[in-house]
């Protein structure tokens, strides 16, 4: 167990190092930020001064090594545009993104699992088919188009829900959150639903196929033979057994929810990290782009690592298989 965890940890570290190099090489190949930030009338001397101030005059490998050294202490340099440390800019926007992602995941779970359960219990009924049709549409619709239609319908046509921003926020432990005020909640609902739609469809499919398989198992037949009520058979015996893969998927997909928040945040002008990334790409704000990507990549690697380790605890075949060199 320990050796598996250590090996997995080493692998994660290697991936992180590789990604940091790729991100650095990639991002530092984009245009010249000096041109963008400096007054167009500035003379060559001033240009040179700005270039040196940003450390852009040094050779490439020196820039990377300097970057690695400072990045390991959490310092990604200062934003060219806002002139504040890039990491603190990201961390300041992160709560909004996390709140949106958590709320979206919650909607997907609260709506998706019951619908999937119904579709799994009655796969050939009208309701079961309707739910499956819904999930196919949910898979086909591009996130940004759904967002647009939601705005068109609920904000422009009906005027029920606001279309941009976070609304009023309340500080909880020094972190501003939207979901505790009515105004914030109305702002949160549409983007969260938009972000949730894809995961919702995924959860419906997963729960449905899991339920259908579980219903054929002997323990369900036995529970029925014992005369347990339908609610108990489904609520305890079926649900408990299909939860393991579902929880895994929810965990693994949380990272992709944060990645897809880039799109949702742009549409609903939600002031989170995704919108910051798009703005930074348009303004060639390299430190912020690099900091965002590395924060997200670290988050991903951490989630993957956690899920793998937890899984190997639950299912010994994973770590035994890895030891014999077969992989999984």
């Amino acid at each position: 167990m320990l050796s598996y965890t250590l090996r997995r940890l080493f692998q994660s570290g290697f991936v992180l190092l590789m990604m940091s190099f790729l991100v650095f090489v990639g991002v530092y190949a984009i245009g010249n930020p000096v041109e963008l930030l400096i007054n167009p009338q500035a003379d060559d001397a001033e240009r040179l001064r700005a270039t040196i101030a940003m450390g852009l005059d040094k050779p490439f490998y020196a820039q990377y090594l300097a970057f690695l050294g400072t990045a390991s202490t959490g310092d990604f340099g200062r934003s060219f545009v806002f002139n504040v440390p890039a990491l603190s800019l990201i961390l300041q926007k992160l709560p909004a993104t996390i709140e949106l992602a958590l709320f979206a995941t919650m909607i997907a779970v609260v709506v998706g699992i019951p619908l999937g359960l119904i579709a799994g219990l009655k796969p050939d009924s009208f309701v079961g088919r309707a739910i499956m049709a819904l999930s196919i549409i949910g898979f086909s619709l591009p996130t940004f188009w759904v967002g647009l239609v939601l705005i068109m319908f609920f904000s422009v046509h009906l005027g029920w829900l606001p279309s941009n921003g976070r609304g009023d926020t309340v500080d909880v432990l020094g972190i501003p959150v939207s979901f505790l005020t009515w105004d914030g909640l109305t702002h949160l609902f549409m983007p969260a639903f938009n972000l949730a739609l894809f995961k919702l469809s995924l959860l419906i499919r997963l729960t449905r196929s899991g339920t259908r398989e579980a219903l054929l198992q002997d323990y369900v037949k036995f529970a029925r033979a014992k005369g347990l009520s339908n609610t108990r058979v489904i609520g305890v015996h079926v649900l408990k057994n299909i939860m393991i893969p579902i929880v895994t998927v929810i965990g693994l997909e949380f990272g992709s929810v944060i990645a897809f928040a880039i799109v949702t945040e742009t549409i609903f002008a939600w002031p989170g990290t995704g919108k910051l990334l798009i703005d930074s790409i348009n303004q060639l704000d390299r430190p912020v782009i690099v900091a965002y990507l590395l924060v997200i990549v670290s988050l991903f690697i951490f989630i993957n690592f956690l899920v793998d380790v937890v899984y190997s605890v639950l299912d010994p075949r994973v770590r035994l298989g890895a030891q014999s060199g077969g992989g999984h």
Partner: protein, 312 residues
Amino acid sequence: MNAAAWLKRATKSALSFGEAPRIESPLQRFWSDFSESRLALIGLMLLTMIILIAIFAPLISPQNPYDLSQLDIMDSKLAPGEKSGAGHTHLLGTDDQGRDMLSAIFYGLRISLGVGIASTVFALAIGLFFGMIAAYFSGWVDTLIMRVVDIQLSFPAILIALILLAVLGQGADKIIVALITVQWAYYARTVRASALVEKQKEYIEAAKVLALSKTRILFCHMLPNCLPPLIVVATVQVAHAIALESTLSFLGLGLPITEPSLGLLISNGFTYLMSGKYWISFYPGLALLLTIMSINLVADQLRDVLNPRLKK
């Protein structure tokens, strides 16, 4: 759905017991299997229509939307069905520059489908190559290729495409490169899995005994047998590629304004959505949705038809 289709086919064949056996060519059998689902047929018809529209866009569009001499700023933001100053009726309205939306959508389809199909074909070729090599040679080659595939697939496609486009900049060629990079890993994994199965079969042994060259065994014997699952993945991936391209174009990172795909048209109309001028982004969105959905419907049925486990 799979089980139901299988049951239907099973009962059909049980009922036809005793009749003279009909000899079908593989293509005929494929078609009769495929046309069993009405939904898939509708999808196929829709898709054929969309592809024809994309190919013949210059012939059937009421207007060349990029010929500036045909545009009149006085006709901008007309609602669907309104007449322009010159007396043309714009069925789907016009955008902020007086461009006929129907024509813009026809031309946009061309670009969206073109980018989607081109990236899929290249990614398929690359994935096929690496997947076959990984399966055939195994050992460290396999480990190396699959490690890269695993790492790449653990990140969402949109994040990788975004990083690449942030680096490469705008342009049709650049977005195709980004889409290929995102997609090749799916094919490599699929091909490897089916090639590993094929490798164990007798005909490969026989080919080896005949001392055929490795390239010949790989590409003339193994490859054709690995194709069916790949066709399914490729169909689904075309839809993904189109959706991803439109998302990236919507975010302003995909195609430049001179080559407006559907995503860019939608993004362009987004500004006017708030003032109630819904048609500038709604109709391109609808075209996008129909394209993706028709591809998905066809892919779903292809998966059922080409799945050997459902065959009699």
